[in-house]
């Protein structure tokens, strides 16, 4: 484990050797690759300065006080802008996409995936605003996050999809049709009234804003699956429970309750009924590669601690002198590298398709419009109107195709499953080889083993991810349906 702050030079060298494709990319986009290296360096520095000294203690503390939240660690991350890594630069964010975020997550998770996942779950909450929200939501929510971050005040987000009786079912369109749902949003004048529960929501108890999906008609969930933005102070919204987890404890998983919670029309992200197709599928295409990176980071952390253990003389000899330990290290290193390439390729597939709209010329030109005009009431009304929302769909539709988006989803699902399995394999093998040694290294690897298991479960179980891969890539029965912006039907069923 690093004992000193890593230099930018070291980090750049490591990145370029681990990811040869970045070397190639550097020739064409040197500033971009430099930005990636700086971000990873920041993550490494944050880990070493703030997380490494406290992570084991925090994990133990949170076994007893599971609703404790380490705001100090979130605040320490603000200087590195961890809350706006994927927020567009047009609203003062860092402007990174999937590749940048995935690299950051791997680095952060190599020390403590619990702490890292606070930032990961936050980004998962930001993502629906990017793929489904309008410019008005960006100007309001994303700008608030980025500006408050600069002022030293964390504004966290969360994403709420899972329901008590529907986990797998709410992440796949075919299954959603038969899901047993508990949440419902009922249309009323001026907005919707939400009732029901969401569970296992990372950051759910600490988020200011939560992006949430639910049906407006539980009889027709797929057709009426809709994305909403929830503010923590909305009446009827509460957090009745924070879960007690085996690992990743620093990031709370909460149950959210809605009792006649009124959500105004302007808090609907996109059109009613767009929540699954394309909403959730685009979200998963964006988020599963970074989850693969989270898992890869956990695997890497376990590997690095195992290596330290193997090099430490014990009973007069170093374990690394044994052939079986050498083979195990080589095997771990191989799998970690393969998981890395899988998530980076998946992240690239997203950034080059759906993500390109966020970094394309159209978005960049937004910055040319004076901020006063962009944040004006007139602009806000336009962007929340059917025409404004349709504009977002147009931008996505001209940047990518359903085939490309589906491909990104398939690759992301592949990277997620590979990452989760790698994290379990490496941490499990390391523990097996270390025996009952009571050294510090084993403490970290045990934590990695507990933390790793969640990466095979959240963001769709690995079984579901394989199924998504099969359906999207092999059987071709699952396709991301981008909205045809010129369809009258799409405009006609809008709200706002």
């Amino acid at each position: 484990m690093p004992r000193n702050d890593p230099s930018l030079r070291e980090v750049r060298k490591r990145l370029l050797s681990d990811f040869p494709m970045l070397e190639e990319m550097r020739r064409r986009r040197p500033f971009y690759v430099e930005k990636l290296a700086r971000t990873v360096r920041d993550c490494a520095e944050y880990n070493r300065r703030y997380v490494l000294p406290v992570a084991l203690e925090l994990d133990r503390r949170m076994e007893k006080e599971h609703d404790y939240f380490a705001w100090d660690l979130v605040e320490a991350g603000l200087q590195y802008r961890f809350l706006s890594l994927i927020i567009p630069s047009s609203v003062d964010g860092v402007g990174g996409l999937c590749v940048l975020f995935a690299l950051a997550m791997e680095e952060l998770c190599s020390t403590c995936p619990g702490v890292a996942n606070i930032f990961g779950a936050h980004a998962l909450g930001v993502s629906p605003l990017l793929v489904s929200g309008s410019m008005a939501h960006w100007e309001k929510v994303l700008r608030e996050i980025a500006e408050e971050e600069k002022n030293g005040r964390p504004v966290l987000m969360a994403a709420a999809v899972t329901e008590p009786s529907a986990g797998t079912d709410v992440e796949e369109p075919h299954f959603l049709k038969t899901a047993h749902l508990s949440m419902n949003a009922k249309k009323v004048p001026g907005g919707y009234v939400l009732n029901g529960r969401k569970c296992f929501i990372s950051n759910g108890s600490v988020a200011t804003y939560t992006a949430l999906c639910c049906a407006t008609d539980r009889e027709r969930p797929l057709e009426t699956w809709t994305s909403f933005l929830i503010h923590k102070d909305m009446e009827g919204f509460s957090v009745p429970r924070v879960e007690e987890k085996m690992g990743q404890r620093a990031c709370p998983a909460a149950e959210l309750s809605f009792e006649d919670c009124f959500v105004p029309d302007e808090y609907v992200l996109g059109f009613e009924g767009d929540g699954m197709q394309p909403g959730t599928l685009l979200l998963l295409a964006a988020s599963r590669a970074p989850v693969g990176a989270i898992a890869t980071g956990i695997a890497r952390g376990a590997y690095e601690w195992f290596l330290e253990w193997a090099e430490r003389p014990q009973g007069g000899r170093r374990p690394i002198a044994e052939q079986r330990i050498q083979m195990a290290l080589a095997d771990m290193r191989t799998r970690i590298q393969l998981a890395r390439w899988a998530y980076l390729n998946a992240a690239l597939a997203f950034d080059n398709s759906v993500g390109s709209v966020l970094q394309g010329a159209a978005m960049k030109s937004v910055k040319l419009i004076p901020k006063g005009i962009r944040t004006s009431d007139t602009s806000r009304r336009f962007f929340l109107s059917n025409a404004g929302k349709t504009l977002s769909d147009v931008l996505i539709a001209i940047s990518t195709s359903p085939d490309q988006a589906s491909h990104a989803l398939a690759f992301a699902s592949m990277a997620k499953a590979v990452g989760g399995d790698t994290a379990m394999y490496v941490s499990s093998l390391a523990l097996e080889l270390m025996g009952m040694d009571d050294g510090e290294e084993r403490r970290w690897v045990e934590k990695a083993f507990r933390d790793a298991k969640l990466t095979q479960i959240y963001e769709g179980t690995n079984q579901l991810n394989r199924l998504t891969l099969f359906m999207a890539d092999i059987e071709k029965s699952l396709k991301v349906e981008l909205k045809n912006p010129f369809s009258l039907k799409a405009v006609g069923k809008g709200v706002g």
Binding site: L56, E243, K245, E432, M436, T461
Partner: protein
């Protein structure tokens, strides 16, 4: 269809298992979570006294010595049953019973009467690795609370030491991932020559001790795997997802079926090992093979058990994640599986 294991039980073992099953459901299941999360809360001691009154604290001590005189196979069945609720508690039972067994064999039967009744506990420190005149046992289940710790040196000398003895260092492992109810400790002896041996175990008895420890851990592992299977099967039967109860999804069925393969084969290997006869006791090679196999399958079964439960499996309320943590400890205790298999090869050669 019943598991094969149950068909092999004779009446005596069936009765024994029924009483242990009652102890599991009446005493252990309600407190297992607390024993895991707060092992110092007093619940372990409470259950321990009850186990003592059932004779489970002196199962391997001869009837003449005041114990149950249980055979290896029956004791494994007991451990398996107890481990379904708390593998940590079962590990503590194993450690105590082997310590008392060794003391009796070394001719120190008088020291164990009280302990055999569940009044305090003893612990076995094994493996004990010697270096520079001293030695260490990194993981002693029951070590932190034991009144007496027993270890055997490489020359077969048996030492029973008091934790407060000046030449012994006893350090509770502060945050073990698994087997927490056992409150494991690291035991160190600076200089063996400072201690007076309590007796000597012959090479055969020493081997038997080793084999019994391996069998015990194999039994605990299978208890964990059995519990994982039962819980996962029950959950899968009532969880509806993707248009059906998940028990009807082939992928889930395959995971459950794999668990059964491990259980059936593991129990057969355990039975064969426990009833095999080598020099002085069960054949060490059979014990090693049974232990490595059972513990590996327990890790796989409990991981899959968590996976089948999805998010609920990861939450502490459901008790699945504890099985996974405990199984991982059974895999590396008393020695890592690769070391065990290499020893097996050496013995066979």
């Amino acid at each position: 269809m019943k598991p094969t294991r149950e068909l092999l039980l004779d009446d005596e073992r069936r009765m024994l298992l029924e009483s242990v099953a009652a102890f599991r459901t009446d005493v252990l299941e309600d407190t297992a979570r607390e024993m895991d999360e707060s092992p110092a809360s007093g619940k372990v001691e409470e259950a321990w006294r009850k186990a003592g009154s059932l004779g489970l604290a002196s199962a391997l001590v001869s009837e003449e010595g005041g114990g149950q005189g249980m055979d290896a196979c029956s004791f494994c069945l007991v451990l398996c049953e107890v481990a379904r609720a708390s593998a940590g508690f079962a590990a503590m039972m194993l450690s105590q019973n082997l310590a008392l067994w060794a003391l009796e064999k070394a001719g120190r039967g008088e020291a164990i009467k009280k302990l055999g009744r569940g009044e305090g506990s003893a612990a076995l420190a094994r493996p004990f690795s010697e270096l520079d005149g001293g030695g260490q046992s990194a993981f002693v289940p029951g070590g932190s609370t034991a009144r007496l710790v027993v270890f055997v040196s490489s020359s077969g000398e048996l030492f029973s030491v008091l934790p407060e003895d000046a030449s012994v260092s006893m350090r509770e492992i502060s945050y073990p991932m698994g087997l927490r109810a056992a409150r494991p400790a690291t035991l160190g002896v600076k200089d063996l020559s400072d201690l007076e041996a309590s007796g000597r175990l012959s090479a055969e008895l020493s081997n038997e001790l080793e084999g019994s420890l391996l069998l015990g851990v194999a039994a605990i592992s299978l208890g964990l795997a059995r519990q994982a299977y039962d819980k996962a099967h029950a959950y899968a039967s009532e969880r509806y997802q993707a248009g059906d109860f998940i028990i009807n999804h082939q992928q889930i069925r395959l995971m459950l079926a794999e668990m059964l393969v491990g259980l059936e084969a593991g129990e057969a290997a355990l039975k064969q090992a426990a009833e095999s006869s080598g020099t002085g006791g069960p054949r060490l090679s059979a014990c090693r093979a049974a232990k490595v196999f059972a513990a590996d399958r327990a890790v796989a079964a409990t991981l899959d058990g968590v996976q089948i439960h999805g998010g609920y499996g990861y939450m502490r309320d459901y008790g699945m994640e504890r099985l996974m943590r405990d199984a991982k400890y059974c895999q590396a205790y008393p020695r890592p599986p690769q070391e065990e298999t290499l020893s097996l090869l050496e013995e066979m050669e």
